[in-house]
Amino acid sequence: MQEPTFLLLTALADHPRHGYALGEEVAEISGGRVRLGAGSLYGTLDRLLAEGLIRVEREETVDGRPRRVFALTPSGTDALKAESERMRAALREADRRLAAAWTSPAGGTA
């Protein structure tokens, strides 16, 4: 799973959000590193909708601005959990190896 996709699904994990709020949330989660423009954001959202990972929960108009509110589907939740577990496993392995390197004698193995 690519990072923008992962970040978008993560942004929807706690509660549904509309497109602009999703863009802001992705920037916040990534520490400002990933900023999705409108083209990229809605291109990815269209794909996630087509793949059944998210759904349009409702459509509303606020201050004259139309917006769709997106939510995770059960498939999207499963995909996020699987990706999260995969990343967690990689992190655990990185921590284990770093700890082993710190505790082993200088110079390491041959």
Partner: protein
């Protein structure tokens, strides 16, 4: 809102939004417009232009069915890194040949003055720099930079060609002033860059190492050609001619899961070559050349597809037999 700060960006955004087809829905289009306008309002001139370009790209892809969840969009995403790498290595080969010609003391002995030699050489360097950098950006995963370089290649190549005329290609029959560069070479570079430009950005990140393998093989072939091929024998069978189709077939086999998708990716990948020969070259593609490329491509594809399938099968069996 946008007209207060950057009126040009506001106008461009309206044109970009016009690219969305009616089937996308008025509400969805208004949502994209609102989002982009808010970004443009808070962004600088160039960041605003980038936002507009993103919206225009998305709108055009929606209109032409090239979004990442459509088969054609997926096929473009599959071939984009390969096309970029092929364009880059082809440009590298052209540059290498030109440098060899320029540094050969005998080659220009009967040609024009030094000024006429240097001008075309600079123009040629400018022509090949874009595709080479584009391939490099793809290989290190800098996709936004790769797309900018693809745009630069598409826009700058005809301009440099026009500005360089007649020294570079105007007398294309005169190899001393053109360094062997043909119109077909330029068209091939531009058309491959177009493939990357059109591909949906959210799927163009290669999941496999196939493009890197292609690069290694094709660059190796380029080096072999550069070191071994004597002048005037560019059209003979070279390492590049042999390895490029095999490596490309293997790469497509590694990046697609079904034969149908592979066939679509192959059609897209071969389009620049066929178009170049048919439209720009002004001559029909010679049947033996096409046969040779097809056989070599199929050879690479079948071997790699078999290896990928066999590896998957063995992995599944070992997974099942594990307690």
């Amino acid at each position: 809102m946008t007209s207060n700060r950057h009126p040009l960006n506001g106008r461009l955004l309206r044109w970009a939004l016009a690219l969305y087809p009616a089937s996308y829905g008025a509400g969805a289009r208004a949502e994209v417009a609102d989002h982009a306008e808010r970004h443009i309002t808070h962004a600088g001139r160039f960041a605003g232009l980038r936002e507009v370009a993103g919206v225009a790209g998305h709108g055009a892809r929606v209109r032409f069915g090239l979004t990442s969840h459509r088969p054609l969009g997926r096929a473009f995403a599959t071939v984009a890194p390969l096309a970029a790498v092929l364009a880059g290595t082809h440009a590298l080969l052209l540059g290498w040949m030109a440098v060899r010609m320029a540094t050969d003391p005998d080659f220009f002995a009967f040609s024009d003055t030094g000024a006429q030699k240097d001008g075309p050489l600079v123009a040629l360097a400018a022509l090949v720099a874009g595709p080479v950098l584009m391939a490099g950006a793809v290989l290190v995963g800098r996709w936004p930079a790769a797309r900018v370089l693809a745009l630069v290649t598409v826009v700058a190549t005809p301009l440099i060609h026009l500005l360089g005329h007649p020294d570079l290609l105007g007398r294309s029959a005169d190899i001393q002033v053109s360094f062997g560069l043909r119109h077909a070479d330029l068209a091939l570079l531009v058309l491959n860059a177009v493939l990357l430009l059109v591909a949906p950005p959210d799927r163009t990140h290669p999941r496999s190492t196939a493009p890197r393998v292609v690069t290694t093989l094709v660059v190796a072939a380029t080096v072999v050609v550069g070191l071994t091929a004597p002048f005037g024998e560019n059209s003979t069978l070279t390492g590049f001619d042999l390895l490029a189709p095999v490596a490309t077939g293997a790469a497509v086999a590694c990046t697609t899961r079904t034969i149908g998708r592979a066939a679509l990716a192959t059609a897209l990948l071969s389009a620049p070559l066929l178009l170049t020969y048919e439209l720009i070259g002004g001559a029909h593609l010679q049947a033996p050349v096409l046969q040779r490329v097809t056989v070599l491509y199929a050879f690479g594809f079948v071997i790699a597809f078999g290896v990928v399938r066999l590896t998957g099968l063995l992995a599944r069996r070992s997974g099942l037999s594990r307690p």
